[in-house]
C-alpha cells in the first residue's frame, strides 16, 4: 500500500531503534508522554516498546476523547435520548462507555431509546432531513480534529433550514489539557511530549510554543504511523541529551506552523470557549472546551432541552483517572482484566481502542508475564 507501507517499514524501524539505543544514556531514565490515543494505539499495535531500550518509558496521555468524557455527560446523553421526541446520533465508540448505575448508551438503546450510530456528522444531518418529526441530536465529542466537521454540520443545518437538528457539544482542547498535566504535581515528571498528529493538522504547531518557553518541555509533533512515533522519540531524546527545548515537527507532510486557517476560522465563528469543563481523571480545566456561540444557540441541545449536568462518581476501584494522568499503568489497576475487560468495561479507558487500558489489553498484556518471568530468572 503506497504511502502507508513506507511508514511501517521494519528495516527502517530497526535502523532508528539502533540509533535510539546508541544515543540513550544508560545512566538515566527518559519519560515521554504521547498525548494522543492514536499514538498509544500505534505504540501497542506495532509493538514499538520492544524496539526501545528499557530506560525510555512512554507515558500514555489523556488524548482519547471517549476516555476523558466525564460520566456525567454520558448520563446527560442518556437522559436526553430517553425523551420521546429525541433521536440521539453518536459515534459507535461512545455506546459502551459506562454511565451511572451500570447504564450505557448501548443499554439505553436496548431499553428502547432512539440512539443511532453514525459514521459522520453528515449522517446525522441526513437523518434530520429524512425524519422532520424527530428532534435529531448529534453527540459531538472530540478534540480539535473533530470540531470542524461539527461546525460543518451546523453550517449545513443552517443552510438547509433544519429546525430539528442540534448538537450536544463536548468538544475539548488539547493544549489546555497538556498544560493542566504540567501544572499538576502528580509525582510523574514528563520530560517531553510526542505531540498530537491530527489535532496539529488543524491547529498547527504554534499553540505548543508555550510548553517550550514557559515549561521547558520539548514537543515533537508526530504522525500516527509507527515510524513517525519512533522518529519522534529519537528527536525528543536528542533534544534532552543536547539540553534543547524546542517545538519540532516530525509530521511535516501534514502539519504546518499555522494550521488549517479555514477550519480555525470556521470553528472560531461558531464556537466559544467554556469557562471550564470537567475532564475525566483531570478534573475541571479552565478554558479547555467549547460551546456554541449565542448566534448558534438554536443548534445547542443543552439550551434547547434545558440540560443540566449532574455530578456523577466513577467506580471507586477504577484507576482510569490516575492512568489518564500518567500516574498509573493499566496493569496497576485491580480491576484490569478481571472485572474490567473490553466486553465489560468499568472505566472509559477500556472502551475506546485508543484508551490505554484497551490498547494494553488488546495488544500488550503478554508483557506483564514476560516481565514477571524476566524478574524471576
Amino acid at each position: 500500500m503506497k504511502h502507508v507501507d513506507e511508514y511501517r517499514d521494519g528495516n527502517l524501524a530497526r535502523a532508528i531503534a539502533q540509533r535510539i539505543a546508541a544515543e540513550a544514556q544508560s545512566d538515566r531514565q527518559y519519560r515521554f508522554m504521547e498525548f494522543c490515543g492514536g499514538h498509544t494505539h500505534a505504540i501497542s499495535r506495532y509493538g514499538i516498546e520492544d524496539l526501545l531500550p528499557e530506560n525510555i518509558r512512554l507515558i500514555h496521555g489523556p488524548g482519547c476523547p471517549v476516555c476523558v468524557l466525564p460520566m456525567g455527560r454520558i448520563d446527560d446523553a442518556i437522559r436526553l435520548a430517553a425523551r420521546e421526541e429525541v433521536t440521539l446520533c453518536t459515534y459507535a465508540d461512545l455506546m459502551r462507555v459506562p454511565a451511572s448505575g451500570g447504564s450505557s448508551l448501548m443499554k439505553a438503546k436496548a431499553n428502547g431509546a432512539d440512539i443511532r450510530m453514525v459514521y459522520s456528522t453528515l449522517d446525522a444531518i441526513a437523518i434530520a432531513e429524512k425524519e422532520p418529526q424527530r428532534q435529531v441530536v448529534f453527540f459531538a465529542i472530540g478534540f480539535e480534529t473533530t470540531t470542524p466537521p461539527t461546525a460543518l454540520a451546523i453550517r449545513l443545518a443552517q443552510k438547509k433550514g433544519l429546525k430539528n437538528f442540534s448538537i450536544f457539544c463536548n468538544h475539548v482542547l488539547t493544549p489546555a489539557a497538556m498544560q493542566a498535566i504540567l501544572d499538576t504535581d502528580n509525582g510523574v515528571e514528563i520530560e517531553g511530549f510526542v505531540g498530537p498528529a491530527h489535532v496539529s493538522t488543524v491547529i498547527g504547531s504554534a499553540p505548543y510554543r508555550r510548553f517550550a518557553s514557559d515549561y521547558h518541555k520539548p514537543v515533537v509533533i508526530a504522525g500516527f504511523e509507527p515510524l513517525d512515533v519512533l522518529q519522534a522519540i529519537l528527536m525528543l531524546l536528542r533534544q534532552i541529551n543536547e539540553g534543547r527545548c524546542e517545538i519540532e515537527n516530525q509530521y511535516r507532510r501534514a502539519v504546518t506552523e499555522s494550521g488549517n486557517a479555514k477550519a480555525i476560522d470556521e470553528v472560531a465563528e461558531i464556537f466559544d470557549l467554556r469557562e471550564a469543563f470537567e475532564w475525566r481523571g483531570l478534573g475541571e480545566i479552565p478554558h479547555s472546551a467549547l460551546k456554541l456561540r449565542e448566534a448558534y444557540a438554536d443548534y445547542d441541545a443543552e439550551r434547547r432541552f434545558a440540560m443540566e449536568t449532574k455530578p456523577a462518581r466513577d467506580n471507586p476501584a477504577c484507576e482510569c483517572g490516575a492512568i489518564l494522568r500518567g500516574q498509573k499503568r493499566p496493569q496497576d489497576c485491580k480491576l484490569f482484566g478481571v472485572a474490567c475487560t473490553p466486553e465489560t468495561p468499568m472505566g472509559s479507558c477500556m472502551v475506546s481502542s485508543e484508551g490505554s487500558c484497551a490498547a494494553y489489553w488488546a495488544y500488550g498484556r503478554f508483557r506483564q508475564y514476560q516481565n514477571e518471568a524476566r524478574k524471576a530468572s
Binding site: 500500500m1 502507508v4 511501517r8 517499514d9 521494519g10 524501524a13 530497526r14 531503534a17 501497542s44 499495535r45 506495532y46 509493538g47 514499538i48 516498546e49 520492544d50 524496539l51 459502551r96 453514525v118 459514521y119 449522517d123 509507527p226 515510524l227 475487560t341 473490553p342 466486553e343 484497551a358 489489553w361 488488546a362 495488544y363 500488550g364 498484556r365 503478554f366 508475564y369
Partner: protein
Amino acid sequence: MNKHEPGGRKLDLRNGRVELSHGSGGRAMARLIGEIFYAAFDNEWLAAGNDQAAFDIPAGRMAMTTDGYVVSPLFFPGGDIGKLAVHGTINDIAMAGARPLHMSASFIVEEGFPLAELKLIAESMGEASRAAGVAIVTGDTKVVERGKADGVFISTSCVGIIPAGLALSGDKARPGDVVLLSGSIGDHGVAVMSKRENLSFDTEVLSDTAALHELVAAMVETAGDAIRLMRDPTRGGVAATLNEIAHQSRVGVRIDEKAIPVAPQVAAACELLGLDPLHVANEGKLLAVVTCEAADALLAAMRAHPLGAQAARIGEIVADEHCFVQMTTAFGGGRIIDWLSGEQLPRIC
C-alpha cells in the same frame, strides 16, 4: 417440503412478492416450493416429496453441523446469501476432514420479499450445491410479517462422512506444531462491507466464498492424521480462530505478520475503515495445525489446489499457560492478537 400438484396460476416470478399465504401450508406455499426451490435444487431426494430425505450411509463416523445465515446485504460482490449458506455449512463439515454428503435448507422469508430475488438466491444455492456435489435433500419455508425479518434468513444443516482413522479436534494442537493458512484473508468481510448502506465504497474485492471440502480431501490424502485440526476463520477472522485453538488446546500460538497474505485492496479498505484484517471474516479459507514433520508436504499439497494456491506457513504452536496468540509485527515489535471486542460488523454471514 411436500410433493404437490397445486394447480391454479403460476407465480409471477418477475414482479411478484412473497405473501403470508406462501408460508401457510396451502396451495400458495406448494407453488412457491415447487416453482422456486424444487426447480433450483433439483434432486431425487427432494423430488420424492417426503417430510424427510432417506438415504444410505457408509459405515464409520459421521459429522453433522448446522448454521444460520442473515448476511446484509443479501447480494454482495462475489456471492449472495444462498451461496454462503451452502459453502459455509459444507466447510463446517469439511473442517472435520469429512466428506460432506447431503444438506438441508430452511428459509424464513419476510412478507413482501420479491419473488425474483428469492428465485435468484435459490438458483445460486442450487448451483453451489451441484458444483460441490452436495445435494439439498430436504427443507422448510416460513413466511413472517413484514418487519419481522429482513428479506430472507436461511438455515442449512449438513451431514458428512469422516474418513477412518481421522479425529481432528480443536484441543489437539501441541507445542512444535505448525500453523498453515490456505490463502489471503479479509476478502469476504471487505466485500460485504463495501456494499453496506452508509459505508459503501468502491472496491474490486470479491467475497472468497467457496466450498473447501475438495481442498480438504487433498490435504487429508497427503497428511492424514498428522493434521491435528482445521478451522475456517469466518466471523471474528483469523484472530478469533487462533484464540479458540489456543484455549481449546491450552497452548500459545506465535505468528509472523509478514507471512500472512492480505490482498492490497483488502489492506487498503481495512486501513480506511480502521479494521484489522485479522478480525475480518473469510468464507473460503482454512487454518490447519499440523505436525512439524508433515508441514512442508501439506503446504505443497494445499498450494497444488486452486483454493490453496496462496497457502502459507504463518506460525507455530508454543507452550504458554496464558494461551496467548502473539504476533511479531512486520515493524519488528511484538503484540497480542486478541479476540475482537464488541461488534466489528454485524450480520457478515
